[in-house]
Amino acid sequence: MEGLERGSAAIVGVAESDLGAVASEMSPIDLMAQGVHRALADCGLRLRDVDGLLCATAQSRTSGLALAEYLGISPAYVDTTILGGSSFMFHVAHAQAALALGLCKVAVIAYGSTQRTIGRRHASVREYNPYETPFRPFLPSTAYALAASRHMHQYGTTREQLAAVAVAAREWALLNPVAWEKKPLTIAEVLSARMISYPFTVRDCCLVTDGGGAVIMTTQERGRSLQKAPVYVLGCGQAITHANISSMPDLTVTGGLRSGRAAYAMAGLGPKDIDVVELYDAFTINTILFLEDFGFCPKGEGGRFVADGRIAPGGSLPVNTNGGGLSYCHPGMYGLFLLIEATRQLRHECGARQVADCATAIAHGNGGVLSSQSTVILGTQAVL
C-alpha cells in the first residue's frame, strides 16, 4: 500500500484460542482474551505493554469496547474495522500505519466466534436485501457457487478440479494436530456428498466451527528484542469491489488481483518469490480464483493447476498448510488464522506440515461474497 514502509512492523506473537467446539457458554470475547493471553506468552510481552487494540467478530457490534473492558485496558489506539473474513488483514495494515505514526507501540489483533455452539444463524444475522433476498440465495454458498458456474463456463473448470482443492486441504489438515477434520477425503467423496448449491457439495464449503486467536504486532526495532524471531510485514494491499454478488463486476476476477499487485509492489516481490501460500478458502473456487489473481497461474488455468496434487503436501506449491477453512477451522471470519499459520511457517514451528526453507509467505483474506480482499506478504529477517 502507498504510504506504508516495507518491513517497518513485525508480527511477534501469534496464538489460537480453543478451536472446534469450545466449552458451552464460552463467549466470543472469552476466546479473544484467551488468544491474546496465549499470543502475549508467545512473544514474552505483558498485557500492560498493549496500547493498540484491533478486533472484529460477527457476534459483537462493539467488540472493541467489550474486549478492552474484559482485559482491563484503555488502549490509545482502537480499530474495529469489520469487512468480513478479511478484516484481520485490514487490521495488519492499519496496525502497521498506527505503529509507524507512533499512535501505539504494541498492537493486538483479536478474533473470537462461537458460531458452531450457538448456530450460524444466530452468530451472523443476514441483512435483508430487497433485490436478492426474495430469490432465497443460500448465502454465502450460493454467491460463490455463481462464481464457480461462471468459471466453469468460461474456462472449462470441472467439479473434479474443485474437489481437488478440498482433497489437498484435507491432506494438509491430517498433518495438523488441531485441525477439525481427522479422516482422509477422496475426490469421489467430495462429489457424492450432500449438494448445497450446485456445483458445491458440503465438502466444497468451509467448516462451521468455533474458534479465535490473536496476533501481536510491534515495530521492527522492538520486534528484534523479543523472544522469537520477528516476522516482518513486507507488503499490504486491499480492494473492495462490491458488497452483494449481483454487483460483482466480473465473477471470475476478484479484487485479489488489485490487492495482490499492491502487496507485491510494496514488498518488491512477485509470485515466484513466495514460498508459502495461505489463501482464504471459504469454498473450493476461492483457492482457484486467488491462485490466478496472485499470478501463480494464468487466469482460467486454476482448475488444471490444482488438479494433480500441486498444492497438496509434497506438491510444488504449498497452499493452505494448516488444512484451511475447508478442513482445519472456520469460525465465520477466518482471516486471522491465515496470518497465524503464515507466521508459524516462517518461524519453522509447523512440525509435520513444515515447508522447508521458507522465508516468504502470502496471507490473503477474503470477506463477504468475494467482496473485500486484503493481502499481507510476510518475510523473515533473511529477506528484510
Binding site: R136, P137, L146, R150, H153, M195, Y198, L251
Partner: protein, 128 residues
C-alpha cells in the same frame, strides 16, 4: 436540497405493480444503474433517470440451491439485461438444473402472495 418524495425501492416496486422491470439510467455516464439508488455510482451525481426495460436478457451465472429438508431444489441466477444492467433472479418454467449460462430469457412479474412484495423472475425467451 429537495426532499425525495419516494425511495428508489418504492419507485421500483411501483413499476413492478404495473408489470414493468425498471432500472435507472445515468445520463452523464451513459450507463445503466442497478440496483436503484439516490446517487450514481459512476459519477457521484444525483441525476438518475428511470427507464423501463424491454425485459430481455441473458443468463450470466446460475446455481441450484438444495435446501436442507426445506422443499425442492430451486434456481438462483444472475441475469444480464440487454440495457446493460445485471440483477439476481431465477429462471422458471424449466427444471432448475436445466438453466444454462448464455440462455436468452424474458422477464415476468412474480406474485408471491400475501403482503410479500412483487419481484422479477425470468422464463426462457422463446417460451414467453
Amino acid at each position: 436540497m429537495e426532499r425525495l418524495a419516494e425511495s428508489p425501492l418504492a419507485v421500483y416496486q411501483a413499476h413492478l405493480e404495473r408489470g414493468e422491470l425498471a432500472y435507472q439510467w445515468s445520463p452523464e455516464a451513459q450507463k445503466a444503474v442497478f440496483f436503484p439508488r439516490v446517487v450514481c455510482p459512476f459519477t457521484g451525481s444525483d441525476r438518475l433517470e428511470w427507464r423501463v426495460s424491454a425485459g430481455l436478457g441473458t443468463v450470466y451465472a446460475t446455481t441450484v440451491v438444495h435446501p436442507a429438508g426445506e422443499g425442492p431444489p430451486y434456481n438462483v441466477a444472475l441475469i444480464d439485461c440487454d440495457e446493460g444492467f445485471r440483477l439476481m433472479s431465477r429462471v422458471e418454467d424449466l427444471p432448475p438444473e436445466a438453466v444454462r449460462i448464455g440462455m436468452r430469457v424474458r422477464f415476468r412479474v412474480h406474485h408471491p402472495g400475501g403482503d410479500e412484495p412483487l419481484y422479477p423472475v425470468f422464463v426462457p425467451a422463446e417460451a414467453a
